[in-house]
């Protein structure tokens, strides 16, 4: 069974400072990893994904994520945080065996609330 852990319920950072939102995963094979953001009373917006290749993935709105296979981590990062980045962030994983195994679902972490203050 696949699982995702987001160890921090909330991350606080000052505007202009770098931010990191942590994510670790567990899958039986190789993972597909995703980050999504959710603003209040809205659906989830796709930020970025790791499929294969370069361990540093760049996504929307200046976000990037670093895949580390040995640590089974996929942390979300941004060099300079904005107040408008304040939202709920979800990490998700899909097992690469998904289609044939009927398991194309995403398994989500519990979410990390990011608060960026002036």
């Amino acid at each position: 069974a696949q699982s995702v852990a987001q160890p921090e319920d909330q991350v606080n950072v000052a505007e202009g400072n770098p931010l990191t939102v942590k994510c670790t995963y567990s899958v039986s094979g190789n993972p597909y990893l995703f980050w999504y953001v959710q603003y209040p009373n809205r659906g989830l917006q796709f930020l970025l994904k790791y499929i294969t290749g370069d361990n540093l993935v760049k996504g929307s709105y200046g976000f990037e994520a670093e895949f580390n296979k040995s640590q089974t981590s996929f942390h979300l990062k941004k060099p300079s945080a904005l107040v408008s980045d304040s939202a709920l962030y979800f990490c998700a994983v899909r097992d690469m065996g998904g289609l044939t195994g009927g398991g194309n679902k995403l398994t989500f972490g519990t979410g990390t609330q990011l608060k960026v203050e002036l």
Binding site: R42, L99, N104, L106, T107
Partner: protein
């Protein structure tokens, strides 16, 4: 390009009633997924449809069911509503490729009283 749309935005039902939620995927996407986001429980996978067939379902009772129409839109039906069914129901769509990201609609807020 239009995104995933869901209707209604809000739905209020009484315990024991039935609820029907609707979703239209992004044009060209054949896969539709349903997720439940309940307070304190996070995002839980409900159902996956592709080409009109149910491909996978999560750990939910049979009173949660749905279908996908020939135009790839989808319905989620919840029978015999219980108070704990109150949640935000999110629909997502994607291409049928393992590496494809899912795009989410704004959700339907279901309240059971």
């Amino acid at each position: 390009e239009a995104g995933v749309t869901q209707s209604p935005t809000h739905l209020i039902k009484t315990r024991g009633q039935q609820a029907t939620l609707r979703c239209s995927p992004i044009s060209g996407h054949t896969s539709v997924y349903w997720y439940q986001q309940a307070l304190g429980l996070g995002l839980q996978f409900l159902l996956w449809y592709d080409e009109g067939e149910e491909r996978n379902r999560g750990n939910f009772p049979p009173r949660f069911s749905g279908r996908q129409f020939p135009n790839y839109s989808s319905e989620l039906n919840v029978n015999a509503l219980e108070l704990e069914d109150s949640a935000l129901y999110l629909c997502a769509s994607s291409l049928l490729l393992a590496a494809s990201e899912q795009y989410f609609g704004p959700g339907t807020r279901l309240t059971v009283t």
